[in-house]
Amino acid sequence: MSSFELLIILPIILGFLGYLISFLRNEFYFLGAILNFYYAIRIFLISRKIEVTRKIFNILNFSVDKLSGFVLLFISLFTLLILIYSIRYLKYYEKKKEYFYYFLLIGAIGCGTVLAGDILTLIIFWGILLSLISLIFGFFQYATKEGGEFAFVKSISILGFSDFLLILGLGLLFISYGNLSFNLKLPLNNTINILSFILITIGCFAKAGAIPLHSWIPEISKVAPAPTMAFIPASLDKLLGIYLLLRISYYLFDLNTNFVLKNYLMIIGSITILAAVLMALIQKEVMKLLSYHTVSQVGYMVLGIGTGIPIGIAGGLFHMLNNAIYKSCLFLTAGQVEFWTKETKIEKLGGLAPNMPITFTSFLISALAISGIPPLNGFFSKWMVYQGVIYLYKEGNYLFPLYLLSAMLGSILTLASFLKLTHSIFLGERPKEYEKIKEVNFSLWFPSALLAFLSLLFGILAIPLPIKGLIYPSLPFRIEEFGFWQPLLAFILIVLGVIVGFVIYLFGAVKKVERKDIFVGGELLKEEERHFSGDQFYSPIKEAPLLEKGYEFGEEGSFDFYNYLTAIFSGFSLLFKEVIDYILELIYHQIAYFSEIFGGLLRKIQSGILSDYLFVIFIGIIIILLILIL
């Protein structure tokens, strides 16, 4: 037994033991995850030195290189962290033993998927993974929340259909070339290669959540609890989907041989960035907002990988890692908030920062990272993607300004929506019922804090740690330039700036904020009416004091550029949300309606009268005779 089998089998066995033995349940699950992580580290360390392949029973063929080694490491890290989190978080759920068992299985099978060394192994693991994910989603189907069944059906049908296409693509390859391993660099110039590439990318897109196959993530976010969201759409599926996309784009095939397919990826990436972030902007529910951002961030990865420029690809890969880190952190912290408040509507929350400092800090770091604020990791990977896009002009691809624009705009809007979110959850007025809320306990805040720390670390020490250590070695290119951004230097400058600011703050007008009662028309304003929640952040922009000064000469907000912009954006987001989702839903319902009617009509053929049957049968033979003899 080598580490390969143990990595997968041990969690399964230990999970099963935990499933059976109730009084040692958590210990067994924890042990399973730990062992999984241990073997993942071992395989990762081996993969730094040599590529290893291993055949088991002549069926499963595992192989690990530098790329899969590092993805494997992070999958099993996330499994461990989120398992720790959910053991506490889901303590009072009814069927938690099944949940944890599925969870561990998903972790183990996810590792297997990454390690798959040929097409058949990949098909097997990918299929098992889909079944497990459907099990874990189905587990929440009848949760107390409404729409659970619809969400389950929608996500499983999208994932199932796209997985079907993916396996079809792989099968096409299998039949054309035999059981391939994944490092052949086939040129994308004949029909079979192109067709199977497109089919496989569809599977990757649905897993990772790129538009137009994204809609299962926001839907499932309504019912699934925070750790599930943090694990499946935010980290595992990102890692797997983008890993597979990268794997087929530059290992199995060579994307640089087909100009059109590159643009296909980049266009999908750019649309994903913009459309999803626009939808996120108007969400009023924490989980749903986060899930739209999950979708939006995929765009950067697809865009980066689609550029075909080494630094862009490295950026995409790095962004995948970063996104998994900060997005699971965001989901986890949102879960921590929900854990006490039992509330996910933005307007009902507020002012929780003093109560939950660690949660707030983790959330803030991740939020800044996702918005691409230097020196955090999100900025650096986006920066690499931008550079990749800019280099496109050297290849004569003159669509690059569009891609660049959408990427940057997406980043700005992300910042905007996270300002709103941070404000409305942690800052602003605190509703009365939340005053007694305390910080969550260690096993809840530790995973998110660790992830936030990782974000910070990967941002500041980007070049020595993740880039040189993980990203560049795992790509099949030699990359010389790092761009002209020096994160460490920048961090030092920023810290200096902050210190200067703090000094100024100290020496400046240090006043204690006074709380005063507010009167309107002589009446004392009630506590509730004073509450200013973040969900109206962008509608009354014109009333914000800063803008009022800036555009005093204009009429009351009508000259307000931001106002127009918001209106346009909301228009767009409404368009995407209402029209496209509406159309998709309409099609879904129409198909259901049509099949109802059609099936009802066809049922009438079976009239119950024998003579009718015989009559039809004799007509049948006459037709057969006519066709065959004449």
């Binding site: 049922r603 009438k604 079976q606 009239s607 119950g608 009268i609 024998l610 003579s611 015989l614 009559f615 004799f618």
Partner: protein, 112 residues
Amino acid sequence: MLPYLGCIILFLIGIYAILTKRNLIKIAIGFCLLEYSVNLFFAFIGYKKDALAPIYANLSQARNFVDPIPQALVLTAIVIGLGTTALLLSVALRIYEKYKTFDIKEIKRLKE
């Protein structure tokens, strides 16, 4: 050619009975007619003009036998037909017991 024509006529009568009659027993009878016509046809196939019965008496006459195989086969087919007809009739009688009718158009609890 005439015997074959007879077979075909019998066959058509059988089809007519099955398709148009409403009584279960009549349908069974029509079915028997179909079966007889096929058996008859099979039996005719083995027939040769002026040939002897296929009994192995002495070798000098061995040249002009009727083909014995169709007869054996028809016998088997008749046995099978016997089984089906018996089953068909007993089911028809049980149906009458339960439904109190032999009319096939009344017997339509299973539909759609």
